[in-house]
């Protein structure tokens, strides 16, 4: 099987880049670096490094550990190590404190991707960014953004172009930093704060395009924007729902009023195929989420895989994984690009495990549907799979006043899946939490956004790492975890595969575990208490490092 990774950077160099600024040339990454959200454009999260293997992983040991601090530097007193230089930005006079589950004052939890380029790590969390020496863990600088507010779910990582970093903020700015110093180059508004957008996506840099998306839970439309890395100027904007009469997909909405408030937010990063110039990403749920009468129809292009030409912003194809979703089971999960056999023929594929519990294989050049399978036992909400391979819902499972048993969060979420070209297996975190959901909106106008429902009792049946054979959609193996405590224990934090035949992942959240990627047997573990992001791997001085975050801690492991 041909690996996509090898060809990507070669193709990137062929794309003309702006030569206006002194350092606008994208640095060709050294083999074994981690220069973007998924490590490369394919979304496979497959490291070609093979120093750490199934045989020697038992000797993997700690190289360094570092604790990061968020917010304004408070100074540590005479017994604390000296603080790194701090750079402060933001439009607010004082940083706003938001409440609830996604509080801006929540303890630091590093949940996004961390870049590794030329021996330096670039990490981010909501309102914070750091540069860290990848050999020693020493913090080189710390940037803090004083926020106006916004839903502080989790910053999913930064993008990089030459020496320039790009980070989204919860209050809807794209901030560009000088990677050498952490000093701000500029910041630009990328969405409207009063319209209750919030921004947390890892920017993806392709040629001279910085691709950014946003989230919104208030019936406002989703879009993907392409910005100029030098200036931040808008190059194009793709809306995932029709914004004017005659737009593609308008026939799947009852009115323009409905489609212009139809959601479909682009709240996770996608993958990129350099051969076709197609950026392929998943879109969010339609809105209002739970009162669908005002949006009868399939609601294109919500809950879909969408392929957009990165040069023009025009859509090449789409595949909707949940027509007319009524459960907030979106399709924002990372699509994985694979060149491999399907029905005996070599094909260019995109694979996705969607939040609705179904695994999809689609031709990534044409959008032709090839396979659908369900990866979780409970399928009561599915009336049938139609001839396009789409699960069609049983209307009696929509949310009602009397309460309905549902998987309220779906069966997988944004923490990234992985693929190994060695095993041909697609790996994901599956979880089963079922609970009662009640429709509580009394206004005759119906609920809005994600509002108007109350979740009642929840019962967890635990979670699992699953390995799916993409050619059949069947499970090759599954490693089940009993219920743990809290969010990370079930949702997981994302996966990594390596050429050493390994799969790195958190268990119920406390241990980082190395599994045999072929069989699912645990071979090594380290108890880090709250593994919070997807593990990554990089090579320095001819040694492979495996890095993972756990709350406010960062750990790097290696072989000596």
């Amino acid at each position: 099987m041909k690996r996509i990774k090898n060809s990507i950077w070669a193709c990137l160099c062929a794309i003309p880049v702006l030569a206006a600024a002194d350092n606008a040339q994208p640095a060709a990454p050294a083999a074994g670096s981690w220069p973007s959200y998924s490590g490369d454009y394919s979304g496979q999260r497959y490291s070609p490094l093979a120093e750490v293997t199934r045989d020697n992983v038992k000797n993997l040991t700690l190289a360094w550990a570092t604790r990061l601090s968020q917010g304004l530097d408070a100074g540590g007193g005479m017994f604390a190590p000296p603080s790194p230089p701090q750079i402060i930005g933001g439009e607010a006079a004082e940083a706003a404190v938001t409440g609830g589950l996604y509080s801006s004052a929540a303890p630091l939890s590093l949940r996004g991707a961390i870049l590794e380029v030329n021996g330096v790590l670039y990490a981010s969390a909501p309102d914070n960014a750091w540069a860290i020496d990848a050999r020693t863990g020493t913090v080189l600088w710390h940037y803090f953004w004083k926020t106006k507010g916004g839903t502080h779910t989790s910053n999913k990582g930064m993008g990089m172009y030459g020496d320039w970093l790009f980070m989204e903020t919860a209050d809807d700015y794209l901030v560009s930093l000088d990677a050498r110093t952490g000093k701000e180059r500029w910041h630009h508004e990328i969405a409207s704060f009063p319209e209750q957008y919030f921004s947390e996506v890892a920017p993806i840099v392709i040629g001279n395009h910085v691709l950014v998306g946003t989230g919104n839970d208030a019936d406002e439309p989703g879009s993907l924007k392409s910005l100029d890395p030098a200036t931040g100027e808008l190059q194009w904007q793709f809306f995932s729902t029709p914004m004017k009469e005659g737009d593609p997909g308008i026939e799947s909405w009852p009115s323009l009023e409905a489609s212009r408030h139809g959601g479909g937010n682009v709240w996770t990063a996608g993958s990129y195929d350099p051969a076709t110039h197609l950026y392929i990403f998943g879109t969010g749920n339609p809105t209002p989420a739970y009162a669908p009468n005002s949006r009868k129809g399939d609601n294109l292009f919500t809950c879909s895989l969408v392929a957009v030409n990165v040069d023009t912003g025009k859509m090449a194809w789409y595949y909707q994984t949940s027509p007319h979703d009524t459960h907030d089971w979106d399709s924002a999960q990372t699509p994985i690009l694979v060149d491999g056999l399907f029905n005996g023929k070599p094909r260019k594929l995109v694979l996705q495990a969607a939040r609705n519990g179904h695994f999809f294989v689609v031709d990534r050049v044409t959008g032709e549907h090839l396979l659908t399978s369900r990866f979780t036992p409970w399928g009561k909400w599915v009336k049938n799979i139609n001839d396009k391979g789409q699960p069609i819902r049983d209307l009696s499972r929509d949310v009602t006043v009397g309460g309905n048993v549902l998987s309220i969060d779906g069966w997988t979420n944004w923490p990234p899946p992985a693929f190994s070209p060695q095993t041909g297996l697609f790996y994901l975190r599956e979880f089963e939490i079922y609970g009662l959901l009640y429709y509580t909106e009394t206004d005759p106008g119906g609920s809005m956004g994600l509002g108007g429902t109350t979740r009642g009792g929840q019962e967890s049946l635990g979670s699992a790492i699953q390995a799916i054979d993409y050619q059949t959609g069947k499970l090759a193996w599954e490693h089940h975890f009993e219920t743990g405590q809290g969010f990370l224990s079930t949702f997981g934090s994302g996966l990594l595969t390596t050429a050493g035949g390994l799969l790195f992942a958190a268990d119920q959240g406390k241990n980082l575990v190395a599994f045999d990627a072929e069989r699912g047997t645990p071979l090594w573990h380290s108890r880090l208490q709250e593994v919070s992001n997807a593990p990554e791997s990089y090579m320095l001085d001819n040694h492979q490092y495996v890095m993972v975050a756990a709350g406010d801690m960062l750990y790097a492991f290696t072989l000596y």
């Binding site: 924002a332 108007g452 929840q458 019962e459 079930t490």
Partner: protein, 283 residues
């Protein structure tokens, strides 16, 4: 689209109580709960009397077209709560242009209202929390949609509820103890569970029996278990942490609520609604 959404207040309380409940087996978390009522998208505070005046004006002048809750009405007016003009407006300055000039092409007449009244209407519109999970006038009794007689039949037959429960003993008066929504939640989860379905401190304890390689048997209340360790508290109150390697030592888990776990995937909404209706009659 959110990863997970829940009432801000409830979430903060639940998260906080979850942290507290770890005191059973884990060191207490030394952190303060964030302010539960601080909104994600802060707006200037509004005067409640202005909101009341605005509500009054809105109901007579605007509600026919825009609906009493401003989410669109019979007269065909759009939902104002998601209108960018309303969302960007602070205290009537953007609303005024539309109110005073009308939108003749879309069928909205001019309203010759003083600025003070427009700003009252704005205060009313901005006071509505469209993101709220539950409407303030939601009645938990409206959850009662089932048939009590059918629920009784299910209880005594197909549901196998009588294997553990009796309406004369443990469930006597249960319909007075909980409102219908919480009663139904209790049937589903059989006790307190966390927001991610994990057992809470109030759930009856799960116990474990461990066959040690030495031949001894260790028993107690389960604190936590993964592939590499099992933690329990034995009858003497001692906290034991036992290393695991694969399935050695063997651990047998006994959850007293297992019947409720086993039925999770098999519930039919109708059976649950009927059962709730029946148990609600046990006053």
């Amino acid at each position: 689209m959110s990863n997970l959404r829940i009432t801000a207040l409830a979430a903060a309380v639940l998260c906080w109580s979850a942290a507290q409940s770890q005191a059973t087996g884990e060191p207490a978390v030394d952190a303060k709960p964030p302010p539960a009522d601080a909104p994600d998208f802060p707006r200037p505070k509004v005067d409640p009397t202005a909101v009341a005046r605005g509500r009054q004006t809105f109901s007579t002048a605007c509600a026919f077209c825009h609906g009493s809750g401003a989410r669109g009405g019979e007269g065909g007016g759009p939902n104002l709560l998601r209108s960018p003009i309303v969302m960007h407006d602070q205290n009537g300055e953007l609303l005024a242009a539309v109110v005073l000039n009308g939108r003749i092409d879309k069928g909205m007449p001019k309203f010759n209202l003083p600025m003070g009244i427009v700003s009252d209407i704005a205060a009313f519109l901005h006071s509505i929390d469209a993101r709220a999970d539950a409407s303030p006038d939601f009645d938990p009794k409206s959850v009662l949609v089932g048939n009590a007689a059918a629920g009784k039949t299910y209880f005594n037959g197909k549901g196998h509820c009588t294997a553990c429960h009796s309406v004369k003993k443990d469930l006597a008066g249960i319909g007075s103890k909980y409102d219908p929504q919480h009663l139904q939640d209790k049937i589903f989860t059989a006790g307190g569970t966390g927001i991610f379905g994990e057992p809470s401190a109030t759930a009856p304890p799960t116990t474990v029996k461990i066959d040690m390689p030495s031949g001894t048997v260790v028993k107690g209340r389960l604190v936590e278990m993964d592939d590499f360790a099992v933690v329990l508290v034995d009858e003497g109150g001692n906290r034991l942490t036992i290393r695991r390697d694969g399935n050695v030592p063997r651990v047998q888990v006994d959850n007293p609520l297992q019947a409720h776990v086993d039925i999770v995937r098999n519930w039919e909404d109708r059976d649950l609604h009927n059962l709730t209706a029946y148990l609600a009659t046990l006053k």
